[in-house]
Symmetry: C2
């Protein structure tokens, strides 16, 4: 038992320190004075070095050799520690440090190139990032597929080939739905000026409606909304655009989904590798089902319509059915983050195919812009107007996040499966949602998904909750029905 006890005690401290580093990131994005950037970079660097030393500490290898875990939770914890140790140990310190240095630099170069709409200013740097990421992937893959090795950091157990099969099956139906919807009459847009304080008050009401635990969280403003933290302290952020209150309200509900996952994990798993969301895809399934299948459904928008009409002293939309259509309005656009349920996955699939080709070497960075533009025209029916709206729009690749994009669409697929099972298990859910009370949904999700944390694999947790194998049909059926009705298709 000693090796296991020592291993878990060591891991406990590592988890605590990693939680501190995450809190530091929250501070930076929400409350930190703007003059503190250099200091914070140095503090983060020092924390990362402490964490790196712990993750590659050779004692972990010795403890792992001697540990003999008896319970399922302990066996899984040991397996997760072993996986991370193996991955951390395979990457040479020189490579890790070059990657850290280059990606920190590359993010700034990307931001400038985007502002100037000048891909040529960024692509040579992206090429260097790509070379280092391929080198990293080769260390991790141990002879296997490079892209799969990177994917393992975000969606353990998933492969590029499985994702390609899944996404290729989805694309035609999504492209067809997009064409139909954009060919139909558009719902009215919401118009007006919506003061910040009122938006934030409504955002808090929405978070409460979705069961956010304010004793273990808080809400602040951030430029790009995110959630942060685990166990007893998972905070959300939101942003306010005074002409578009849906931005604030649905960002909030989305982040409540992420935070509720972390806060819903069995408290016994705190400070162990089981004490956090098991993958980015499962995480996104929670934020998306809160935001879309629940938050953008007819029942909840009926409640929201009343609240918003009251809070803003009348809206230009005066009927709850029309309001529901307005909330779910689909408009042409270039930008992934501003996209809707119909088009979002098409944005992601484009990036997935391109990044897989970049990592495999089938695509060169110098051909990337042309490939992006050709693919966008094919899937979206319009030509990219400028690089900032095309190949330069996302930060991800500049910071080395290859393998991250597909988890967004995978999360939507998971959310589709979960929503089908949830509706079967809680047939009168809409009656509660119409009262601004998502409790029956959040309880079902906590019981069937969230509480397990890292205990099961991503596939196992979704399939056990959904009661069927993961597939794209529940999501696609839901989208076709929902938007078919709204747009009278």
């Amino acid at each position: 038992m000693t090796a296991l006890t020592d291993l878990l005690a060591f891991q406990r401290q590592t988890e605590a320190l990693s939680s501190v580093a995450e809190r530091l990131g929250w501070d930076q994005e929400t409350v930190m004075p703007r003059g503190a950037a250099e200091q914070r970079a140095e503090e983060m660097g020092a924390m990362e070095e402490v964490l790196h030393d712990r993750r590659t500490d050779p004692r972990i290898g010795e403890w792992l050799d001697a540990a003999d875990p008896q319970t399922p939770a302990d066996r899984r914890a040991v397996a997760l520690i072993a996986r991370d140790y193996a991955r951390s140990s395979r990457i040479p310190a020189r490579l890790a440090s070059e990657l850290a240095r280059l990606t920190s630099l590359a993010q700034g170069i990307w931001a400038e190139a985007r502002a100037k709409d000048a891909p040529a200013d960024f692509l040579p740097t992206l090429d260097q990032v790509l070379m280092l990421k391929r080198e990293e992937a080769a260390c991790l893959a141990d002879g296997g597929d490079l892209y799969d090795a990177l994917l393992e950091d975000y969606e353990p157990g998933m492969t590029g080939a499985r994702l390609a099969t899944l996404f290729d099956a989805m694309r035609p139906r999504l492209v067809a739905l997009r064409d139909d919807v954009l060919g139909a009459d558009q719902p009215q847009a919401l118009k007006g000026h919506f003061p910040q304080e009122t938006q934030l008050r409504l955002a808090r009401a929405c978070a409460t409606a979705f069961g956010y635990d304010w004793t273990r969280g808080r809400m602040d403003l951030a430029v790009h909304p995110f959630s942060s933290g685990r166990w007893q302290d998972s905070r959300i952020t939101t942003r306010v655009v005074e002409t578009d209150p849906f931005n604030c309200l649905y960002s909030t509900i989305h982040e409540v989904g992420h935070s509720s996952y972390e806060l819903g994990i069995d408290p016994d798993y705190a400070f162990t590798p089981l004490g956090r969301g098991v993958s980015m895809g499962v995480h996104e399934s929670q934020s998306r089902i809160y935001e879309n299948q629940l938050g953008r459904g007819r029942a909840f928008t009926g409640w929201l319509f009343e609240r918003m009409s009251e809070a803003f002293d009348g809206l230009n939309i005066t009927d709850p059915d029309a309001f529901y259509a307005t909330v779910n309005r689909v408009t042409p656009g270039y930008i992934r983050t501003e996209s809707d349920e119909v088009q979002y996955n098409l944005h992601v699939m484009l990036r997935f195919d391109l990044e897989r080709d970049l990592i495999s070497g089938r695509l060169d960075t110098q051909d990337l812009e042309a490939a992006w533009n050709a693919r966008f025209l094919k899937d979206f029916g319009v030509a990219v107007d400028r690089p900032a709206n095309g190949v330069l729009q996302d930060v991800h690749w500049s910071v080395g996040l290859f393998g991250y994009f597909p988890t967004y669409a995978l999360g939507n697929v998971y959310a589709g499966c979960l929503n089908q099972a949830l509706r079967g298990a809680v047939p009168d859910l809409d009656a509660s949602l119409a009262q601004g009370d998502a409790t029956p949904a959040t309880e079902w999700l906590r019981e069937n998904v969230q509480r397990h944390g890292g205990l099961m694999t991503p596939t196992a947790v979704i399939e056990s909750a959904a009661g069927q194998p993961i597939g794209p049909d529940p999501l696609l059926d839901y989208l076709e029905q929902k938007f078919g009705r709204i747009y009278g298709l």
Copy 2:
């Protein structure tokens, strides 16, 4: 050069990590959700263990042996690292851990005993704390004086004997002034309800008047106001009592003094042992001169009178001279933290004499309450009415802070010396203060005290700024003149 470079690089990371730990403390006292207490305790514990391991890392000893610093700053940095390393290495891990465990427990026991007014519930625990602190002092003192060894953590270079001489010289004049003032006619008290938002707006205006750098700081609410952080990020906190706006405003100015010291240090010293305030006494000299000699002076209160009259739509005091007297009102009271410029040092001296006797063994904890009460009656002329207003009022001893109290009074003495020199150097200072602009004062303090950080000893930095040896007369002369005039003595 390699040993020195390695030593300073290692120290740089330690400083960054210690700054992270301090930021975590700020988070806990200001924004942390209330349900996150256990988690935070574990995170703090993990950070402390990392820091303790670094501070006692045997490589420091090797680097120190081989280092050959050439510049005054490097020589001083090496000396400060050597001092901390020697102190950390002298305390056995067993004792450090027992002290941490016991003081964390003792704080809770003290709080309960104070709430119940039951010294007997706390004194046996205090006795255990005292035993461990005496053991710690014996490790540190190496045959020397136990109290001096503890004092070294807060006011390096100072001794209990020197403090006793200083305080004994001050006491008769302070007791006499207290008697005279309390025997005279009292100025009017401020009456009314002062809404929180208005108080906070005025507090921000006061902080700005004293030159607080908002790009490297921020202000939040806390139960007990404090300042936190250094270099590019030193934040202040304040509190609001809606019947007493002076509480909020003067807490703010006090904390601006502490933060301005940290923010005023030469940026080249960041991430070195020179990059922080050199002692608690010098720190307190900055907060006190901002709060009292500058903030509670006739010139600045004239400006404040206008601002407050405007913000609160009239006050029950309608004349700036009467307002100045109200700000400086002296009333009888038992509580140190609610005390005024005349009585504050008497509170501190009482604690200093008692704690010095506790550490030397001349006083037993079982006789402590009686000793406190007898001394209070002697210096303040009234009997303590209940233990919560007497021996149980401060948290310090429960958490092992022996040697800390005298730095409060020492800071006042330093502030007296600095004020005399400042007024000589900037003869027209009051003209600026009357306009709500303390810039000429803060610039003089930055140039003569703050920028030096840890470069000089506490005594050296104060004496070089004051242009004379440290003594009690400037403070006592200032108090007698100021309160003599206000009270018509």
